[in-house]
């Protein structure tokens, strides 16, 4: 890992915004590389001593910045109401009325971004680049051009550009899978709390999608239009006609498991050509590791089965939100949530309480507590925080 990446991790650490995966990676680097320890010490010294003493205290700089932003805000508002401002308001009202009428007429489910927060991860959503979205569990056939739904409302068929957009993002709900059939015939089985950005039309020179979460992809063969999958951490898959599984939250890293055909996997540090039965995985900043994988473990999420192995509470929360529909909140600081003491299998459709009481293996049962709040969020915390 280079100096720049280590520096960024140390900054994350200092501002208290480091993910458990990044914290583990930083710890590993510091244990293995003496130069990294020196670099970290230098950064901490620079940012906490001398004229930077107290700079980590947020009160110092905020006011100045907000004053500057307030000025900008004032300018924006004043400018808006001057001259063409009134005309623009009238235009906006007219456009909104027209849009409302059109929406009412077509009974589409598109909404503004104000509603997005309320529906995110509760229902499967198809989001467009202007912030509008469609609730996929509510669509009726033939109401929206180029979009049809399966009878159970857990499959969407894309036939071309929707509302003039060439790209869209599917965001799935907690605790349920969703199937997406693209305009080229490729099929995506998308896991819970996953986002997939994909092409809507079928005329582009190449087919490109981006996945964050878990998905199983069956690519329709088309030698004229390569199929590319963009992944976080500079990951990229070039598909050569095939079916494969993607998990961007595999033990804090990324895993691509190939079931059939052939794919080329890249991650910024190198590339590898995968053969069926093998999985490529990597952590942030590391090279690709290739190992044989077990179908029953890697693909079991499609049947709603998830395995927790040596997991922290935060790892467990991520898996629980895939298996069940409840939001899960871990009410323990990340610095305390470091013990990997949870093992067990979660199966969709079984009781979450039964799982917490029986399937989770803790060293002692009185070590943690949980409750549901009024919004049905499951809160988990430890009885004795060190």
């Amino acid at each position: 890992m280079d100096k720049e990446q280590i520096t960024q991790l140390v900054i994350d650490e200092l501002v208290g915004d480091i993910t458990p995966e990044d914290a583990a990676m930083l710890k590993k680097i510091l244990a293995e590389e003496p130069d990294a320890v020196t670099l970290r010490q230098d950064i901490i010294r620079l940012l906490t001593e001398g004229d930077m003493k107290g700079a980590l205290d947020e009160e110092i700089s905020v006011e100045r910045a907000l004053t500057k932003l307030e000025k900008q805000k004032g300018k924006t508002r004043k400018g808006f109401f001057r001259g063409p401002g009134t005309f623009i308001i009238i235009l906006i009202i007219l456009a909104a009325t027209l849009l409302f009428y059109k929406q009412w007429q077509q009974t589409t489910i598109s909404k503004t971004s104000a509603d997005l927060q309320a529906t995110m991860y509760k229902y499967p959503l198809l989001m467009f680049t202007d912030g509008s979205f469609i609730r996929l569990d509510k669509i009726n056939d033939n109401k929206i051009a180029n979009l049809t739904s399966g009878k159970q409302h857990n499959t969407a068929f894309i036939h071309g550009a929707i509302n003039q957009f060439e790209k869209a993002t599917l965001i799935t709900a907690r605790g349920e899978n969703y199937q997406l059939v693209l305009s080229d015939g490729s099929t995506l089985y998308v896991g819970p709390k996953t986002s997939v950005t994909f092409f809507l039309g079928h005329t582009g020179p190449r087919r490109e999608i981006a996945v964050s979460g878990q998905a199983f992809v069956e690519v329709a063969h088309d030698p004229q239009r390569p199929f590319i999958v963009d992944l976080p951490q500079e990951g990229k898959i070039q598909v050569l006609g095939t079916s494969f599984n993607i998990n961007t939250e595999h033990q804090g890293g990324i895993q691509v498991a190939l079931k059939g055909g052939s794919v080329k996997v890249e991650n910024g540090q190198g590339s590898t050509l995968l053969t069926p039965g093998y999985a490529a995985s990597w952590q942030k900043g590391t090279t690709i590791d290739t190992v044989k994988f077990d179908d029953k473990v890697v693909l079991s999420w499609q049947q709603g089965r998830y395995t927790c192995s040596k997991a922290t509470l935060r790892d467990l929360a991520r898996v629980m939100e895939c298996c069940y529909r409840y939001p899960v909140s871990i009410d323990v600081p990340a610095s305390v949530d470091t013990s990997r003491f949870i093992d067990g299998e979660l199966v969709r459709g079984t009781s979450i309480i039964d799982f917490l009481n029986t399937a989770v293996i803790f060293p002692s049962h009185d070590k943690f507590k949980y409750y549901f709040d009024k919004d049905s969020t499951l809160h988990i915390s430890l009885n004795h925080v060190p």
């Binding site: 620079l46 100045r64 910045a65 907000l66 924006t76 991860y121 680049t129």
Partner: protein
């Protein structure tokens, strides 16, 4: 301490900023200002210059808002902007 934004919240913020919602820019600023400032300071070793780069980046986001992709990683975008602006600093 900064509030850690989820991917969904980041996307929502970018969408709102693109639409001209200054409150969304404020939330973005509150969430990342410290990180951006420290990153800039490490490169410039000068508080005033680092602070100037920090506010400049947020002004740039506001001016450039129609070009913001709602699917971008805010953290990486800010990192890149700090890099660009600190390279040309005297």
């Amino acid at each position: 301490m900064s509030h850690k934004l989820t991917i969904a919240e980041e996307r929502l913020l970018l969408i709102k900023i693109r639409k001209g919602d200054i409150e969304a820019l404020e939330i973005l600023f509150m969430s990342y200002r410290q990180r951006v400032f420290l990153d800039a300071y490490l490169r410039l070793k000068d508080q005033a210059a680092a602070w100037s780069v920090t506010t400049e980046i947020y002004s740039w986001i506001w001016q450039y808002k129609p070009g913001l992709s709602p699917f971008t990683s805010i953290k990486l975008m800010l990192q890149e902007e700090v890099k660009k602006r600190t390279i040309v600093q005297p």
